[in-house]
Every structure is written in C-alpha cells, then in structure tokens.
Amino acid sequence: MATIIEGIGATTSSLNSDRFQLPSRRSFSERKGRFFSVRSEGKVIGGSRGGNVSPLVTNAVATKGDSSTASTSAKPGHEVLLFEALREGLDEEMMRDPTVCVMGEDVGHYGGSYKVTKGLAEKYGDLRVLDTPIAENSFTGMGIGAAMTGLRPVIEGMNMGFLLLAFNQISNNCGMLHYTSGGQFKIPVVIRGPGGVGRQLGAEHSQRLESYFQSIPGIQMVACSTPYNAKGLIKAAIRSENPVIFFEHVLLYNLKERIPDEEYVLSLEEAEMVRPGEHVTILTYSRMRYHVMQAAKTLVNKGYDPEVIDIRSLKPFDLYRIGNSVRKTHRVLIVEECMRTGGIGASLTAAITENFHDYLDAPIVCLSSQDVPTPYAGTLEEWTVVQPAQIVTAVEQLCASCHVDCIDYSKDYTWPNQNKKLLEVSSCNTDTVLFSTLLPNMDSFLSMQTDFSHESLVDCVFTLDMNLSECEPKADFKQNKLADFGTVAKLGTVNSKPSFNLNNENSSIAHACALDMSL
C-alpha cells in the first residue's frame, strides 16, 4: 500500500558495467532537441534512507476544481474537501490529547472563517476552542505562554497576513524561547492560517509570509497542498515538539480528494514526489503545484518529461529528495507564489547551488510572483502570479539551453553542424576503476549505433581517456554528467597531469576536434 517514491535511489544501488539502462522509448534518430540520458549514478545511494518513510501520493495531478482520483490506500477511503481534512486532523488530535486546544479569531462559535474549526467548539467547549479578541500579538503570545506551561495550542490567524502583527511573539518567543531558556521550555505550538493570492482580495489579504518567517531560527514551516497532505501534516505539526508554522492557501480549501480512513501522519521535513520524470526538476509548493501540474500536461504533450516535487517543508528543505532529483535531471525550475526578492525560491536556489552545483547543467530558474503589492484588478492580479504558460516556456528554455562547461570552441573551429556544442570534457575521477569501466561501455554502445549521422547530433560529449595516476580531487566531475548527453566519443588519450582549469584538456580537445570531426 505504501509506495515509496524516491528519485533514483530506489532503483540503482551501485554502478557496474552492466547496469546501463537506456530509455527504450527514445530511439536515436529522435534525439534532436531531446536528451538522451543514461541512467547511471556515480554514487552509491542506499535504498530508503532518511528518517521516516511515509506513504506518498503518486501522480496526484489535481487541478483546482477537479476531483483527484489518487489514493494510496488499497481500500477506498472517504472523500473530503481540504478544509474538512484539516478539521478531521484537528479533531483527531484533540480527541487524542486533551492538552491540544485551538485559539484564534472566530474559531469557536463562528466555526472559523474558512470553516476549518466548524463544529469543534460544540464538541470540545469554549475553552478548548477559544474565540479570542482581535489581538494577534497578544493571543499568539498567550498561546506561547500556554505551550510553555504544558498545553499544545493551535493558533489560527484568520489570514496569514494578520500574523504580521504577531511577528514580535513569533520571532522572539516562538522561535527563540527554547534556546534562550537553555532548553528548559518547549513551545509545541502550531500557527496556522490561510495565505496566498486569492480572488481579488486586495494587497493586504494576499500576502505570502513564508519569506518573512523563514529566517527565524527555531521554527519549522510547512505548506499543505492537497487534502491528503493537509491532514497528515497538521497532525504531524500538532504532535511535533517544535513550533510549526502551517501555511494553507485561500484558494485550495475546496479541493476534493479521497483520503484514507485509517489514521496517518506525514513527516514534517520530507518533500513529496508528485510526478517522477527525467528532464527537469520542478520544485513547487502550495497552490503553484496545481499550476505546475497543469503546465505538466502541456509539457508531456510536447514531449518533455518533467519531474514535479512538492517541497512541502519550507523550512528546512528536504535536500535529500531534491538532491536525488537534481542528480537525475540536472535542471531545476522553482515555481513559487512567494515574491521574487528574498523568497523561498531564493533560499532554495542558494541551497541547491551550494550543495548540488556540480550536478547542474543550467542555472536554476526561479519563477516567483512579481515584487508588487497584489493589485485588486483581476487582470493585474493574474499577471502577478506565475501562470502555467510561463512554466511551460521556462521549461522549454531550460531544456534547450546547455551550459558550456569549458571554452567555447565554436569561435575557433567551424562546426559542420552549427547546433553542436561542446558540452563536457574530461573527467578526472578519483575512482579509477569506475572511470575505466565507464569508457569502454560507452565505446561499445557507440559502436552498436551504426546508423547515426552527425546531422542528427545535437549535443555531444567528448571524453578523454585520462592517465589517472595523479588525479587531483579538485577536478572531479561526476560520471553522470559525462554519460548524460548524446553520444560519447572516445577521442584520444591525454597523458599529462590534469590541470586545474582543464586548460590542458581543453586544448587537447580543440586539437582533436580540429583533426577529426568525422563522427
């Protein structure tokens, strides 16, 4: 019942020569404009690692208003709307633990302005579902004080934007108090509320606070996007000992999905694989997930294979699943509703660049909302947020571009086919066994393909058989980059010591190219 989708880790355990798998559906003649990816991994990635393994929804392509048919349970569950899923989660946790309470404006008798807490006050009483006066800073602080003395409050901001008034308490007390008290007091609060751009709600009701809160040390942030993960995450957030800020989206409350009857809790720190793919990794969260999935339909029709990951955990990022994906596809597109400046995408870009720079073949593209207070007019509002058409264009551009990793030789040499680009050169790898097994296989593969002409080649990779005896770890390129694109042509041998800027190698290639380009 529980399927674990984790990038490539689940399929490959180690690289040995008979593990090269070629995507069978692509024949070589179709390669123009596509990527030929040899699935190989230079690193050993064990089976399922990384903390809690939780059931994930596969291929949840739920656009707004459509009912999703995804379900991870073998027997049918029950259909709920997202706000009902949240209510179920809250209800179950309140039944399970009497110290869980809810406080916020209009959560009790009114049932919550988005009906998330409807019926809970009748069931649990006015003290457990507390209607507060309109004093965000103070009732957030009250929730924190209650958490310090033993309760587990769920604090609701009627709109996330109102929590700006509670910033003092959230930053100073919620985030820092556990630390400044030397670990004596824990603050197991959940601060939740809907945010994001709605339908012409105006600037102040359309704020995305995830960017403002993300620097606060000591808090976790999660964003739910489907009824399934909403219920699982709210339960996890309530059970967590850390303060969690739980972002919901105003427009997602009426999503319908079938969720399991039995109890389930998701992990707060894990990302969700929405759609596995090969060509490009699209990272998104909250409402933009649906814009991405809409764009994904178009992209699939156009022949692209995007991998869509809903990062869910905005702080901290799940760099494991993201990393696996980047290692596989080498291209990253981040689609978010946050503002351009200092948003979640900006942090994510930095994190990915820091950790996975070597695996990237193109700069990370980040599509965010415009840096503008959300206008009231419908047309203007539409243009502030990222739309599916923009996502499609971005993916197309991203896949078409390839970064030239070394000197562009096209200036010095007239390529018979102007589209050819020199992509990858030399690899000095500390693992000599690995490298030397790689090349012969590439070579033998090449010789199997006898019917290609160089007009159909768009991208080429030239590898050199290196003398690896004096390898410097600094010049370490990963195997998969070599094998990722196009054909591999064994040009020749460079017997010199690898140079720091690959100058030696580059000039050898130029030389070899000049001599023999009759592939």
Binding site: N137, S138, N172, T180, S181, G182, G183, Y320, G323
Partner: protein, 426 residues
C-alpha cells in the same frame, strides 16, 4: 481631564464610582502632579518616613480583608520578617555584586539592576507557591532570586557560563527556570505579558478542561511604567479580565523609562486606573514599603486563586541606579533620588522590625553576613564554571532536532554528531 505637558491647575479627577466589582476606594490626588520632569508627585514629597500604622491607612487602597482581620498591630511574624529581610538583602547584595563584576569585565551587554525596588519583588513573590509562575522583563535577576532560583545559577548565567540557569544562552535579560516556574526574562517590554496571560490560561484550562480541581496556580506579570503605554498591555488586560484568568499584573512604576519620565509619556499617569476600565480591580500601593506591598499582594493573589479574576497593582517605586549599567543617569533630579533613597525599603523594614521588637540587630547582621557569603560563593562558582563548548552552539534551537531537516545524503542532520557545532550547512 488631565493635561499632558503644562502644569496648570487642573480639575481633580472625579472619583470613580464604579458599580462593578472593583470596590477600591479612590484617593484624590492633589492637582498639578502632571508636569515637567522635575516635578515630583506632591503626596510623596510631603511624606516623611512612614510609621507602620499610619501608612497602612493612607496609602493602601485595597480594602484589605486581611488587614481588617489582624488581631495584632503587626503585619508580620518574626519568621516572616526575617524571610523578607533576607530576600531583600539578597537582592541588594546580588545586584551590587553584579555591578562590580560588570565593571571588572566579567559580564557584558545590557545589565539592568533592581536596586531600590526589592520591596516589590519580595513583597509579591514570597507569597507564592512553587507552582506559581513569575514572568518578568529584563530587570529580572531579583525576581528569579526571590522565586528561589539559586544565586549560583543566576550569577553563572550572567557570566555566560554553561552552568547558568539557561546554560549561558539567555543572559541577563532572559532568566528562565522550569523548576521554579520562572517564565523569563524578556528583552522587549510588554513581550512577557502575553506569555504570563498564557500561563494563567493554562491554569484555568487545567481546572476546567483537564478537570484538575486543585489547579489554582497564579501567575504574576511584572513590568514597568513604560510598558503601560504598549498595546500588548492593554490587550492582555482585556483578555485576562474577560476570561477571569488567575493573573496579577504588577506595575513597577519607577517613574522613568530609561530617560523618559512617566509623566512625559503617558496621558494619564495613574496606571492603577486602567484596571477598572477593563473591569478589574486597580490598586495603587507604595512600592518602597514591603509590608504594604505584601498586604496588597496577599489580596490580589487570593483573588486570583479563588478564580475571581485579575488585579492590576501599581507599585510606586524607584530604582537607585540607572536604567542599565550603561546608563549615565543624568536626567534624574538628585533631589528626587535623595528622596527615594531615604525611603530605602531595606532600611524601612529594618526599622520596623527593630522598633516593634521583632528582631535585634545581631540577627539582622547575621543575615547580612550569610548573604554576603552566598553572593561570594555564587561569584566563585560562576568564575570556576566552564564556558560553553562549541558543541553547545546549536543544541537547543529545536526541542525536536529533526527540525533541522534532512541532509543531502538522506539522514537527518541532527544525526551527524558534529552538527551542533554549527559547521554543517543548513
């Protein structure tokens, strides 16, 4: 009603004839006490050192049932008197030692000393049980000491050592102690009041939701006159009165917020009046006299414990030193300082006890000597304690360190043993 800046002859404020449950008698203040920074409140100027019986009737405005029931003239027994004296001496000696240590370079940053205000801390906190909570501001050393936090722990915390009550991570302005229910220590003023409200809420919750019938823990929130212009103060007064939370709001009105005189900052400087505006009792008390404070405190705490709601107690007090050790304290009138120095709470209590033949000099001297040793020992302990090691850097950021997330290799970052040293990328 009252003018902000000009010292004119204003009409006297009308007595608040409230038909709500606040039955406190209202004193009529003489006019023109709102004025320039150099004007003092006339009623304080005209008083000499109060004698016990006289002061009782004129300054305490709570209709104190406790006082009425007293058989004897004395407010305290010998044991209680010694306890109060010891606590105040501890507070004073500790703060003086803090100043010494600061100038010797043993502690840094902002250190706010409590000299002169001991009566408020002692008067209130010595009436509490262990499970009652205290929330304070940055001027919190003495509140922690009165509540029972060992002097050693507080001094180590000030020195930034790992044996401090917050492992050296909080510092002067963040004194926390779970065992003694000291909920901090907050640097921003007004920030602690909602936390205190929350602690009181828990007490109420435990009684009515968790059905723990004996849950009647009271929370005390201490803050200053400057805080009384802050929104959080009013919001919490509202919520506490609305839900009848077991909390006492104690205003330590020392007339100065760093260099801003209370009279220059507040449209109506009588803070106790703001209580009845929210439907709770507002009491004004002479905060330089520990016995008066204690009487008012008894009533307020009992009221909270009985579930009758909060009280706002304004203690007129004074800090002998500057706002912090970095404050040159040039704005305050030396006459004002001298006036309050004459009303030193420790001297007053000493005089009271000796005049009423509760104790003799030698017993008090013995206490002073004992406290000196305690403070010396605290300094020694703090000196000898180790500084926090590098591995402590990220240790308490999360209660559940899984919150640091999953590293690129698939494991949780917290599983890396060196992670708390802060060397890993996050």
């Amino acid at each position: 009603m009252s003018c902000a800046f000009l010292s004119v002859n204003i009409a006297q404020p009308n007595p608040l004839t409230s038909n709500r449950h606040s039955t406190n008698a209202i004193k009529l203040f003489s006019p023109s006490f709102l004025g320039s920074t150099r004007k003092l409140r006339p009623h304080s100027l005209s008083k000499s050192l109060p004698s016990p019986s006289k002061s009782l009737r004129s300054s305490v405005f709570a209709v104190s049932d406790v006082v009425k029931e007293l058989k004897s003239n004395l407010l305290i027994t010998k044991e209680e008197g010694l306890e109060l004296y010891e606590d105040m001496i501890l507070g004073r000696a500790f703060e003086d030692m803090c100043a010494q240590m600061y100038y010797r370079g043993k502690m840094f940053g902002f250190v706010h000393l409590y000299n002169g205000q001991e009566a408020v801390s002692t008067g209130f906190i010595k009436l509490l049980r262990k499970d009652d909570c205290v929330v304070s501001t940055y001027r919190d050393h003495v509140h922690a000491l009165s509540k029972g936090v060992p002097a050693r722990a507080v001094m180590s915390e000030l020195f930034g050592k790992t044996t401090g009550c917050c492992r050296g991570q909080g510092g002067s302005m963040h004194m926390f102690d779970k065992e003694h229910n000291v909920l901090g220590g907050f640097a921003f003023i007004g920030e602690g009041i909602p936390v205190a409200t929350g602690a009181a809420f828990t007490s109420l919750y435990k009684r009515y939701v968790l059905k723990e019938a004996d849950s009647d823990a009271v929370t005390l929130a201490f803050f200053g006159d400057g805080t009384c212009n802050n929104g959080q103060f009013y919001e919490c007064l509202n919520m506490a009165a609305l839900w009848k939370l077991p909390i006492v709001f104690v205003v330590e009105n020392n007339l100065w917020a760093i260099g801003m005189s209370h009279l220059r900052a507040t449209s109506d400087p009588e803070i106790w009046k703001k209580g009845p505006a929210f439907g709770m009792s507002g009491v004004h008390v002479d905060g330089m006299d520990v016995l008066k404070v204690r009487e008012v405190a008894k009533e307020a705490i009992l009221r909270a414990r009985r579930g009758e709601g909060p009280t706002l107690v304004e203690c007129e007090t004074y800090r002998f030193r500057g706002h912090s050790l970095a404050d040159p304290d040039e704005l305050r009138d030396p006459d004002e300082k001298a006036h309050y120095a004459n009303r030193d709470p420790i001297t007053a209590l000493k005089k009271y006890m000796i005049e009423n033949k509760l104790v003799n000099e030698s017993e008090l001297k013995a206490i002073e000597k004992k406290i000196d040793e305690v403070v010396e020992d605290a300094v020694e302990f703090a000196d000898e304690s180790p500084l926090p090691p590098r591995s402590q850097l990220l240790e308490n950021v999360f209660a559940d360190p899984k919150g640091f997330g999953i590293a690129p290799d698939g494991t949780y970052r917290c599983e890396d043993p060196k992670f708390t040293q802060g060397t890993a990328h996050v």
